[in-house]
């Protein structure tokens, strides 16, 4: 039973609150990603699950046991550190074997388990080398082998891919996901890279300054971000957020943005009215925006083309609004020229609305 639960867990260091009232329930066999910028508390939360830090408040449960007072070594979890933390004076074999030595396991069986773990990560030929003689990718696999050799209740991973070069990272990402599915293991994975989070996790928990912002499946977090922070953090290039006044628009409401008026769909308008907002932050993902043909009529906003970024497979056009805010648009049929006025056409239903003061999402 590999369930991991945090209930109202907080951690304070002197006068800094690293984790603030975090409640999270991770199901057995789930791959949960703790995502957030540096300093958001995700590593601290992970370390509390591991037993390397003590919570100031709250309970931590692993399996069916409350582990607050249980030492790290008795918690039946494995951890992969960002630096891999391999024992430099031991061979790969001894490194992988180390977690088994503290339990009463016969030497014969230990060898068997080590060979198995090494084989599943392609390390059979490296067993007699020392970590100093291995490449970064190989070291990472040794760290993984050491983690899986014990079949713990849960795996904790602290940014394990961040020390790999980009190409290796992509490859290892897929291997990690595959490994998790194969082992049917519970994984709590910490990263600041939203691409990793989106591609690897069953669910993503986003933290900012110690506070949980949203937890949900990648698609949900992408399509319906719960607040401005999540909206801006997930998605590359990031969602455009423009502040505007709420105005009446025929029968309904619209957001008056510099350069144009964006009508709000009926349910959204109702929510905005109910919340009594006179200004909103409108969120539009770049893929929902197109540069309009100047001749054709548009629902949209006028902006000046500023910079065109070509990425090979697509182009991003950065446009400047009247009040200086920037909007990034995936290029449409029209070929833009820097400096010209262009119409940015949007899809009304793909518009997100946020409360400008609290940042919270408005509407469903």
């Amino acid at each position: 039973m590999g369930r991991v639960a945090l209930e109202h867990v907080s951690k304070r260091f002197d006068d800094v609150t690293a984790v603030d009232d975090l409640t999270l329930d991770i199901a057995d066999e789930e791959f949960l990603v703790l995502l957030g910028p540096s300093g958001c508390g995700k590593s601290t939360a992970l370390r509390m699950i591991a037993g390397l830090e003590e919570p100031s408040e709250g309970t931590i449960t692993i399996g069916d046991r409350v582990v607050n007072d249980v030492e790290a070594k008795d918690r039946d979890i494995a951890m992969v550190f960002q630096s891999y933390a391999l024992y430099p004076h031991m061979t790969v074999r001894r490194n992988i074997e180390f977690p088994l030595r503290s339990r009463r396991i016969a030497a014969e069986e230990r060898k068997h388990l080590v060979d198995d773990a090494a084989a599943s990560l392609g390390l059979e030929d490296l067993l007699d080398r020392k970590p100093g003689q291995l490449s970064g990718g190989q070291r990472q696999r040794v760290a993984l082998a050491r983690a899986i050799v014990r079949r713990p209740q849960a795996f904790l991973m602290d940014e394990p891919l961040s020390n790999l070069d980009a190409k290796l990272r992509v490859q290892t990402r897929a291997e990690l996901v595959e490994l998790q599915r194969r082992l049917a293991a519970t994984v709590v994975y910490v990263t600041h890279d939203q691409v990793e989070a989106m591609t690897m996790g069953h669910r993503i928990a986003i933290l900012e300054r110690g506070v949980l912002q949203q937890v949900g499946a990648p698609q949900e977090v992408y399509a319906r971000p719960a607040n401005l922070f999540v909206a801006r953090f997930i998605g590359s290039p990031p969602m455009n957020t423009v502040t505007g006044r709420v105005v009446a628009d025929g029968e309904g409401l619209a957001a008056e943005l510099p350069g144009g008026r964006v009508p709000l769909a009926a349910p959204l308008a109702a929510a905005v009215a109910a919340a009594n907002l006179d200004a909103v932050v409108v969120g539009m993902r770049p893929e929902d925006l197109r540069l309009a043909d100047p001749a054709a009529p548009t629902h949209g906003v006028d902006a000046t083309v500023s910079v065109i970024e070509s990425l090979g497979h697509e182009r991003h056009v950065v446009c400047r609004l009247d009040d200086g805010q920037l909007v990034i648009v995936r290029q449409g049929a029209h070929e833009p020229v820097p400096g010209e006025m262009a119409g940015v056409r949007l899809v009304v239903d793909a518009v997100h609305v946020f409360d400008p003061t609290s940042g919270a999402r408005v509407g469903g």
Partner: protein, 293 residues
């Protein structure tokens, strides 16, 4: 033009090095060579008579004499009594004081406090503590007959205990520094891997501290061979020359026998054996030191 500037730089460099070099030439290198030379001259038993050049004979005579061999043995024994114990205790204290407990700083200061004691201070303290009249041994029930500092079996041990205590502060600081160099994440990984405190110490901390321990052993032995103050204050080489380490032997030869020739030979022997031991240790132990990471 460049020539002149370069020459000025050379002159400046030599000028900056000159003060130190003068001191070294006068008080280190000159004495070193003169000392070897002095060993060639046998001193007369009565002052006023000239020295006699005897070449290596004096070296041979002194170095094969029973007094010298006994003294060498005593010195080696003393090093054996103080160095391993001192390092083990310093390491033990460092490990115990390395925990994240409240107020650990106070304990660390206490453990390093003997750094403030000199050899003389330690000798005076223990000399009185171990004295049969005013000391503490009777209270502890540890009296010996004759009293410990005059006891041929225990005198060296008593001096060793004094020395270990006096150097404990320095050893503690050194070992603590070495302990710091063990990466935290390795110890955390070991914790998560299920290793208990002793297992973590034996499998992770100790191997990664081997450079520091190696340094402590080599330097500690060199210092042990140069012990003098405690002997002078506690036992004066006795009883029955049981604590007559080489440095003290040199001192008595110089002061009491006024025999600089013999003292010079003994000093050369001390130098030689210290070097020999240090090199032997380096040779034997460096292989087992892991300088990884």
């Amino acid at each position: 033009m460049k020539q002149a500037r370069r020459r000025r730089e050379h002159a400046l460099a030599y000028g900056l090095l000159a003060p130190a070099l003068v001191v070294f030439a006068l008080f280190v290198f000159f004495p070193l060579f003169k000392n070897v030379y002095l060993g060639f001259f046998k001193n007369p038993p009565f002052p006023g008579l000239p020295k006699k050049y005897v070449g290596f004979d004096q070296y041979r005579d002194v170095l094969t004499s029973r007094d010298f061999l006994e003294s060498l043995k005593t010195t080696a024994l003393f090093a054996l009594l103080t160095v391993p114990v001192g390092i083990a205790l310093g390491l033990g204290l460092a490990v115990v004081a390395h925990q994240q407990l409240k107020g650990i700083g106070i304990y660390r200061t206490i453990f390093s406090s003997t750094v403030a004691t000199s050899v003389a201070v330690a000798a005076v303290i223990f000399g009185t503590l171990l004295s049969p009249q005013v000391g503490l041994l009777p209270w502890l029930g540890l009296t010996t007959e004759p009293p410990i500092l005059q006891n041929t079996s225990w005198a060296l041990v008593a001096v060793a205990v004094t020395t270990v205590w006096q150097t404990l502060g320095l050893t503690f600081i050194l070992m603590s520094a070495g302990l710091q160099s063990v990466p935290d994440d390795l110890l955390e990984a070991a914790r998560v891997d299920g290793a208990g405190a002793w297992s973590r110490f034996w499998h992770v901390t100790l191997p990664l501290m081997s450079p520091t321990i190696f340094f402590a052993v080599v330097v500690g032995t060199i210092f042990a061979f140069q012990t003098f103050g405690q002997i002078d204050l506690l036992t004066q080489g006795g009883p029955l020359k049981k604590t007559n380490v080489l440095t003290y032997f040199i001192y008595t030869t110089l002061r009491n026998q006024s025999d600089p020739g013999k003292a010079a030979v003994l000093a050369v022997a001390l130098f030689f054996f210290t070097m020999l031991l240090a090199l032997a240790q380096i040779r034997l132990l460096e292989r087992r030191v892991s300088y990884e990471r």
